[in-house]
Structure formats: C-alpha cells, structure tokens
Amino acid sequence: MNKSRHEKLGLSDKQVLDMYETMLLARKLDERMWLLNRAGKIPFVISCQGHEAAQIGAAYALDKERDYILPYYRDMGVVLVFGMTPEELMLSAYAKADDPNSGGRQMPGHFGQRKNRIVTGSSPVSTQIPHAAGIALGAKLEGKNSVAFVTLGDGSTNQGDFHEGANFAAVHKLPVIIMVENNKYAISTPAEKQFACKNLSDRAVGYGMWGVTVDGTDPLAVYEAVRQAAMRARDGEGPSLVETVLHRITAHSSDDDDRSYRTRDEIEQARAMDPIASFRKYLFENGVLDERKDQEITDRVMKTVNNATEYAEKAPYAKPEDALKHVYYE
C-alpha cells in the first residue's frame, strides 16, 4: 500500500490529527474574538484566519523544547503550538491582568511568553528580524543548538529591518528561519504595489541563503519546508527564507472593512481555499478522520473556546496604578 503524504514526512496519524485540531482551535478562537468584538466586549481583533495551515505546519517542524519563536501579529496558530493556552489568548483579547503577553498592556496579537521562548513583539513591523538574528547569535555563542523562527507578512518584507536582519543572519550563518506569510495584501495595498519580484523567496539568493516558496494553505508542504530549513540551521548551513502563499479570509483587522478594496468574488474565492476545509478533506481521504471523530474534535474545541471566553471575561483587570510598574528593573 502506498504511503500517504504525511507518512512519507514521518508524521503519524495522531500528529496530523493534532495539527488539524490546533488549526481548528485557532480558527474557532479567532471567530469567537470577532463575535466578542462585534458585541462590544473586546476592543480589537487581528486575525489568523486563512493562515492556520502555514502557522501550525511550521510550528510542528520546530523543536518546542529549545527553539525560539518571534511571531508577528497573525500568529495565533504558532503560539498555540508553542504552549500559549486558549485561556491566555482570551486574557490578552480582554486585556486582563493575567495576560502573559503583556498583562493587558499591548493590543492582542503582540505575543510574548518567556517560559515558552515566545519573544515579545511590538507593532512597528519587521523589527523582529534583527532580533531573531540576535537570539540565534546568542544561542550560537553559548553552543546551544536552538533555532530562531521569525515570521512576518508580505508587506513587512519591504522594511529595512527585513534586509538588515536577513543579511546579518546570512553573513554570520546564523540558525534563523524567516517565514513570510504572504496573503498578498498589506492592509489594502496589493502585492503588485508592494514588490516587483515574482516570489518573495527569490530574495534569498541576494542574501546568499536558501529560499523556497510553498503553498501556505497546505500544512504538510509548510511542515516539510520548515523542517528542511531547521535541519539546515542546526547543521550550520545558516538561515532560510520560506515564503508561504495563502489567503487572508477576513479584513485586515476588526477596524478594517475590506469591501472597499476587495471584490465579493475575490473574498469568496479566498474562503473557498480555506486551509482547514482542505486539510479536513485530506484527512478524510486518507482514512485518518471520519464524521464521528470530526464531530468529537469540533465539540472539544468549542468547549475549550467557551471555557476560555468565560474564564477571561471573569478575570480581573490590572489596577490603574499598575500602569506605573516595570519601566526599569525593580
């Protein structure tokens, strides 16, 4: 009997089911956050919808015990794999005191959690690329075999820090993986107004690093690419540039209305290429998932989302004067 794609990659049925469940969990948490936003309960959402396959495929290819991740604002899927819990993500959405990312200081999507090596991020884009090189440099100096995995959107590849960080990592052959989640829009500005190269991974050649473009709606394709990049990094072959091409299913954020710059047709097409639906289809076709199991998973995910929402809603805010804390070491 022919091996399925995931078996050829060395992934068990259990592992791909876990991947599927995490993708679904990210989606359902995200959908809940939009509902809460529209109900006036949380001020802001920035979405992972449409990016789940790339995020979870990539994160599964990393070593959760020793690698560092520097996620950008859409990466709920990446941080879920690295150990941030649904409760913690909801605490962040509600800006509650126990939000591990920032204690309610930053907007949602500004991830950070030291115990899981999720490196704190900001809103100015691409500043995290040099940070990834610095993390990798620190690990290299200490002789640790950790990889720094950093993500960004397609628009952010235009920033100087993308270039400076990529070049530094390449010159010093640092164990860095730069993954672009190319959804072809920087808010409203389409890819053709952002860059003139065919693939963003073409830029890898200019930095002297390995680069590849993969289908970002296919978690197995992304897993394979990032696994290869991680192996190269651990073998001392330096950084990689992985471009994942995918579709943003929602507007840029809860404050954006994409109907002013995307046609209904285009949005429908993006929805038709939903990575969760296509992965479900793959799992059904390969006999890993059936209706009964799928319902069990969905029920479990919804229960988790409900519990997390309830937990975060009841959790306390920081005290007003907590705004004064942690400017310097105390």
């Binding site: 560092y68 939000d99 591990p100 990312n101 920032s102 204690g103 309610g104 200081r105 930053q106 500004h110 950070g112 959690q113 030291r114 490196v119 704190t120 900001s122 809103s123 100015p124 500043t127 690329i129 040099p130 940070h131 990834a132 090189a133 610095g134 993390i135 990798a136 440099l137 620190g138 690990a139 100096l141 200490e142 720094a148 100087g160 820090d161 400076e164 960080g165 070049n167 530094f168 010159v171 010093h172 804390k325 942690h326 400017v327 310097y328 070491y329």
Partner: protein
C-alpha cells in the same frame, strides 16, 4: 593610581567586563581587527577572538536590533555606533524595542544592552560627525543615558552600564577621548547610574553640565576663583533619567544657575533641567536660569571659524559665569 586617557578607560572597562562575564560581547562596524575607528576596542579582537568582538555589516539598525535580540536571549551585548550621528537608522530599534521591552512584556522579558557612541564636536567633523544626539532619547522611560566626563567616571559607569538589567545608551565625547586624562583605579569598581556628581564645591554660582563641558567649566571656574567668584559645579553624568535631587540641591545652594550643553539649546537636556529647577526652586533663585548652548542651527559646520562659533569653550563659559555672578 594609573593615569588613563578617556578612551583607555573605555577600553579597560570593556576588557575587564569581558574577562569577568562570558556573556559580554562587542558588535559594531570595524570594532574587530581594526579595533574601532577611534581604537576604543583595540586589542579586544586579539584577546577574545572574532566570536566575541564582531565586525558587523554596515547597518546600524541591525547592530542595535541584533544586540537587542542577543540581550533578550540573555547575553550582555555592547553595540558600538561608529558615530552618534549614525545612530538615527537605529532609533526605531532603540525606542520602539529596547526601551519598551520590559514594560510591554509586563516584566517577562528585559533587554540588558549597552549602546556606545562617540558624540560631540570640536574635531573638524562637520555636520555628521559632531552632533550631540541625547535629546532625541532623553524623554523615553525605559532607557538610561550616561554621558561621563572623566576617565574615572567612564570606567565605573561603563561597567555599571554593562551590568545593568536595562538598556543603556553610553555617549562618549570624542574630543575627550585623548584630550582628557585622569587617575583610574586598576581594580574593579562601579559607579551608580542615575547619580550626578559634584565636581567642584562653591558658593556664588552653580553650573550644571555634562561631558566635555565639565572640563571647560572647571577651567573657567579656576579663572573666576582668582577674581573672587566661587563656582559650584554639578556633573550630571546620567542625563536620563535625571538626578532631580542633586539638581535641586545644587541650584538651591547658590540661587544662581548656569546650564551648559554643547547641544542645540531648544529642547535640549538642559531645557528639562531648567524645568526641574523652575518647578522646585522658585523661592531659592536670585537670578533667572541661564542656558549656554549651541545656536539653533541644524548642526556644526566644518570651517574652523564657524565650528568655533558653534562650539562651547572655556571662554564662553567664563563670560556666562561672570554675567550671572554680576546679576
């Protein structure tokens, strides 16, 4: 005690800290084989190797940003900006990242980086090799800015900066590098960041300044002493956050205050010092607060005539002191 130049004190502090702590490393343009364009890192490449004394690509945002990443990882990077003038491409990394990492992560992450940069004029450096850039950073809680005047202060404060748990900008006056010499203890010592230092006790007028201007003010004060005017001189040493207690007490002591900076006057560090005094010392003052600073033109010109016109000098300080004493 050994007499060292200002730049030798920089070098000695880095060397001793690198010996003490394997997490300390240096990165910047030309800091390795060449030992830095001013030779601040001379001999470190030979002693510690290219892994800990890293010649970087010519890209300031990466020098700061990679250092910030390494600091978050747990290293103690010392990043060098070749000239303070060229720190501007790294401002986003310094303000949006380094200064906010502890606060934005609710104390989960921190960023113990030192960013060194030679600043200041009087060395025929023209617009882009002479600037004082501290005011750009001096209203950013989360950052510390140290600007020492003497070799003794350089060594003790640079060691303190390297051991600090938060990001420190360490601005070194490039004209002081070889001009200023002083006694420096051979052993290990640190000086407190955030504390100003009285460099001269006096009764009639108070001068508050920092960096190279401290030496110019001391020279002027000696001359005025011959004329019977006694000058109290406070060296800020840390220009952010300011040592408000020391400023208030120095201003109140004589009631006549002259603030000196080589930076442009408007919005300078001295504007904030002036506000601190105005808020706290109204009833102690016997004269309006005076500021002696560079004119409000973009930066220092190249020609010696215009450069001298721009620069603070002992003579300019002496004149300003006299005017204030006579008020």
């Amino acid at each position: 005690m050994a007499v060292l130049s200002y730049i030798e004190a920089v070098n000695q502090a880095i060397r001793e800290e690198m010996e003490r702590d394997p997490r300390v490393f240096v990165l910047g343009e030309d800091v390795g084989r060449k030992g830095g364009v001013f030779k601040a890192t001379q001999g470190l490449y030979e002693r510690f190797g290219g892994e800990r004394v890293i010649d970087t690509p010519l890209a300031e945002s990466a020098i700061a940003g990679v250092g910030i990443g390494a600091a978050m990882y747990g290293m103690r990077p010392i990043a060098e900006m070749q000239f303070a003038d060229f720190i501007l491409p790294a401002v986003n990394q310094i303000l949006s990242e380094a200064a906010r990492i502890r606060y934005r992560s609710n104390n989960d992450w921190n960023c113990p980086i030192v960013i060194r940069a030679p600043y200041g004029g009087g060395i025929h450096g023209a617009l882009y090799h002479s600037q004082s850039v501290e005011a750009i950073f001096a209203n950013q809680p989360g950052l510390k800015i140290v600007m020492p005047s003497t070799p003794y202060d350089v060594k003790g404060l640079l060691k303190a900066a390297i051991r600090d748990e938060d990001p420190v900008l360490f601005f070194e006056h490039k004209k002081a590098y070889r001009l200023i010499k002083g006694e420096v203890p051979e052993g290990d010592y640190v000086l407190p960041i955030g504390k100003a230092d009285i460099k001269r006790e006096g009764e009639d007028i108070t001068v508050i300044t920092y960096g190279l201007c401290v030496h110019y003010a001391l020279k002027a004060a000696e001359k005025l002493e011959e004329e019977g005017i006694s000058v109290h001189l406070l060296d800020l040493r840390t220009v952010y956050p300011l040592d408000q207690e020391a400023i208030i007490s120095a201003a109140a002591k004589t009631g006549k205050v002259l603030l000196v900076t080589e930076d442009n006057k408007e919005g300078s560090v001295m504007s904030e010092v002036s506000a601190v005094i105005a808020e706290n010392c109204l009833f102690d003052l016997d004269a309006p607060i005076r500021r002696l600073a560079a004119p409000d033109v973009p930066a220092m010109p190249f020609a010696p005539t215009m450069e001298n016109y721009f620069m603070i000098s002992p003579e300019k300080i002496e004149q300003a002191m006299k005017d204030l004493a006579e008020f």
